[in-house]
Symmetry: D2
Subunit: 345 residues, 4 copies
């Protein structure tokens, strides 16, 4: 095989690393980006196998038909970028949204592009800053024919079967899913699966975070004995909470042989090794949409999601969004019990 050609709109960290994996695996790439630094950096690194462009017309002109146009820019700007490039494409060309769009958008875009003969794929892309080395996990929505056509590129971007031990019972030629990419269904299916992936991510992250917080408080019987105010519940058994746990070491030991070993734990151990008390963080935790949409989907379809929603709401609370609720609770407590609030901390 002589290699395929990938067109990439947006050479931020994700876009650039996808280009690097593709070119590094024998394909060529055309990149479009308004900022010159990423273009220059990739040109230096990849040489003539990478073609930089700063005008969309040049980008489109440099692509062989059927063109493969991967859009990898922030969700807010994706719609406009797709509209602009679609104006310049021809029937048979393929547009890929590799960003974090809501899958509702994919359904609309695929329908809008269909009359023009332009194919549309949504590819939920997981891997973050580690994707270059680790490969990207690709969850793909769209028509099967286009997915098949892109197979060589997808294989180069994905981690490959050797990235994990094979699942017992899976033998012979590894499936695409074992390589790390999967055609999940028609338009939107890729971002739908990626959305649920992120919903799970929120839940799993919160599970670790809550557990570590319990370890963090495991010495309360030593540190707070006898200091409870009238509005606090004293420890009934301070003798049960006299452990000064080394949390970075605990996350490290769990990485090998335990049931909770995971990539998230690897990262947690890494951060805790570098910053054992997490002093560099304030604890205001953002959310980027997918966690919310996952709960919306759970509600629409009647699926109980108490864990995933609790994880989302804990993020909201971390940003002070429970303040009005909390004041209302204090108001009620004052009203029926004459309780005064604890003074602030």
């Amino acid at each position: 095989m002589d290699g395929m050609q990938l067109g990439m709109i947006g050479l931020g960290r994700m876009g650039a690393n996808i280009v690097r994996r593709v070119v590094g695996d024998g394909h060529t790439a055309v990149g479009f980006e308004r900022r010159s630094e990423p273009l220059e950096e990739l040109s230096r690194e990849l040489g003539e196998r990478f073609h930089p462009t700063t005008e969309l017309a040049d980008f489109v002109a440099a692509l062989q038909t059927p063109r493969v146009v991967w859009v990898m820019i922030p969700a807010g700007a994706t719609g406009t970028a797709i509209d602009e490039v679609a104006e310049l494409l021809e029937p048979g060309d393929i547009i890929i949204d590799g960003g974090n769009s809501r899958y509702h958008e994919d359904i609309k875009r695929a329908e809008q592009l269909r009359p023009k003969g332009i194919h549309y794929l949504d590819i939920g892309t997981s891997g973050g800053v580690f994707g270059l080395a680790r490969g990207f996990c690709l969850m793909i929505g769209g028509e099967a024919e286009q997915v098949a056509h892109l197979d060589p590129l997808l294989k180069s971007i994905a981690p490959g079967v050797e990235a994990a031990e094979r699942t017992p019972g899976r033998t012979g030629e590894p499936s695409a899913s074992e390589q790390g990419y999967l055609h999940c269904g028609p338009a939107g299916a890729g971002h739908f699966v990626k959305m649920v992936h992120n919903g799970i991510e929120y839940g799993a992250m919160a599970a670790y975070a809550e557990g570590l917080n319990i370890l963090h408080k495991a010495n309360l019987g030593s540190t707070h004995a006898g200091e409870f105010s009238a509005e606090e519940t004293p420890l009934e058994h301070p003798e049960y909470y006299r452990y000064d746990i080394d949390i970075p070491e605990v996350t490290e030991v769990w990485r090998r042989g335990s049931v909770v070993a995971s990539w998230l734990l690897d990262l947690t151990a890494r951060e805790l090794h570098a910053d054992p008390n997490l002093d560099s963080f304030s604890g205001r935790v953002s959310d980027s949409g997918e966690g919310r949409w996952t709960i919306d989907a759970a509600i629409d379809t009647g699926v109980p999601a108490p864990v995933l929603s609790a994880a989302l709401f804990a993020r909201f609370s971390s940003r002070g969004e429970a303040e009005y609720s909390d004041k209302a609770l204090s108001a009620m407590r004052k009203a029926f019990g004459g309780h005064n609030e604890l003074s602030g901390g």
Copy 2:
């Protein structure tokens, strides 16, 4: 009947108001308290039907046998007080713990007092600062014979059947439960039922508080349109959140005819009328034990309590107790996504 006599140890707000209701209903009372003001105040108010004492021996001496000794002091001091007075009592006397002890204690105390022939009742007492006017709801644990003996006193303390419309189907002589007091079972049963009452209270309070917070944010489409940072999820439909809701008025309107009408709502409306933006509260919400013990009981007995536990944990979070969890989440997000935290607020 000529009226009974109640001995009360502890003349704080709750104890004093129980004495007032009892004396006001034709009984007499002996009070023990180390501070002189409450004794003087009650003496002025109640005249010779109230006997103040400042020494435990005098208190016990002033009581007719079988003595009725109601202990109404903070949970932390109750055990010692009961031990001290029990030394001075005789077989057949009755000790009542009307405070917020954990019901485990009641089981122990009843056993310890049994060999001495002293009867022990635990009476979970609800009503707070409104109990004088409204009557106290009494949840009673202990032996049936003593509960029957105390019936005239309990009836005076409880609200009485006229405090609410009778439940359809309940006719004839009102039951004790309809008067507002109930023998729930053997030792500990009163505080057990009171504990669950408070667990429910936490959940119901949180339901109102969360709902009001949604009303509080109902204008987000007007106030925050276009101001979302890269780390925030923008409103997909700002046009759906352009309501400037008058929350004090909403709580008022719900008081009549709605499904969520309740005493907690009455109190909420009252506080919001006095302080429409809840500016006098900081939002650090205490918890006093019962909410925690309710979840412990749910876990012991395998009862799903997602709502009651979420309410309890929201209180913990209001006091900053999620901080370490939140920092751990931020650390993970930084590690896999290179996300920076939102700057603090």
Copy 3:
């Protein structure tokens, strides 16, 4: 006052009872309904002050201008009914949606009717089967001028100030909110506030239900001692769970003087008095939209709603919707621990 005239489309329980309250308070009403029984029943009851119609044209013709058309039919049919009647109305007429529409619809409908000069109000109506006697709590969205015009009708439908003690600090002429109706804001605001009302209702209901379940299991130490299988966690302290609680009696006693006294509790006590073991219920709990939409709104606006969402998800679970999740958990437990599932039932 000579009274106003109300047109009612839909004479089911809610519509008919609103008509009854209005006519009973000195107004007149025109009713439209395809089924003849409700029309005949109301005519018998209300005499000439009620004008029954079975054709929409007759209904419209019988109304004085500006016409007041209250639509009180199932949410699914409301849109069509409004479209049909709007065709027959004139500028200045008023359409009211008193059902359980999502407030998004109200915003759209108000805009669609505006060019025709037809005014639109959304009135969230709480009160259920008790509304006739108790009055209906009305949460109103739309233009202030129309709400003012309808004031006499709204006052007749609402419970009136005497339905609850006045909130301390509220004196003088009772406000509309104290009468039980409130203009909450522009189009949609009424259904928005009603939606949040129902969200709170779900949470408060779940708080009671979970608490009662703990009482229900309070005898586990007697009933299950020693019968735990290898896959169950035995009770560490069976002696703490030896209470045979009379739950109907507990709900009755809480009705007077307790912090959790509420109308929902009144109803619970009533049902438990009639069916002490709840044998007539299967426990499959429906949800009708508002609870879901409340969580959607919480997520959109970034409000933590762990209690309200847990209540919603518990309903989903009650209908078996967690089955696939649960099987996945069992599969994982088998995989890492060799655990076999408990056998059913």
Copy 4:
């Protein structure tokens, strides 16, 4: 090094596999077990490096001093076994509880054994049925001196540093934590950390399970369109739920390169490959204590644990424990709204 000697009480799967790892790494072992098969099997496999015994006195006599006695039997029987063997031991000997005892017990046992000069270690042991191949993750509580003495054995049981890539920043001689074992603190600390490990495990499992359930329902718009009863909320946008997701393939693709890659996911993919619809499971999910105790610890120390508790309660619900709550909800809905329950499914 000549190797150490391990005494093992209990040769079930866990105990036998620990013996295999120890003997396989150059140590010797003495085993005590009442059933003859495991003894014979291990003798066949391990030859003279394994000494089988069926009498406790023989077991103790076969051990060199200071004896190392690892007790690996069900939690319920551990206390008695330790008492029995402790009678036969001498000062300086070491007892290890490698099972799933609650850490409260460890604190008591260490104190009981101290006057006899017997050392006590609690070792939370994770690894399940895969421990033989994968190594066991060991979380250790007790005195530092004994942990140091046992280092060669612990190293043989643990997975070893090569089981995962080293955490960036960790260089030089791998720490014990990097080998997969960790001295967490004094008596109980090992089981405390193991308890929190299992609490996290419950939360992470639930995150996957809920996410997979959403995928499972992603085709609701196709399968249920138009079939909603009056008591169901119809899908507002059926077009958003028309995905027939291959869940086994999704779990496989997430194993490589995604953020949610983990050992639990590996196992889930394995089970789903073998049983794609999870037909062999009923969905009644047990819990074995640690998850409950984790929430108890969170409550005692004031740590918000909404995710871990929701995971625990979902297991309770899976076993039908919400039934009474659900009936109570149905009763309330009937009471205020006249709603009938959905008929069973």
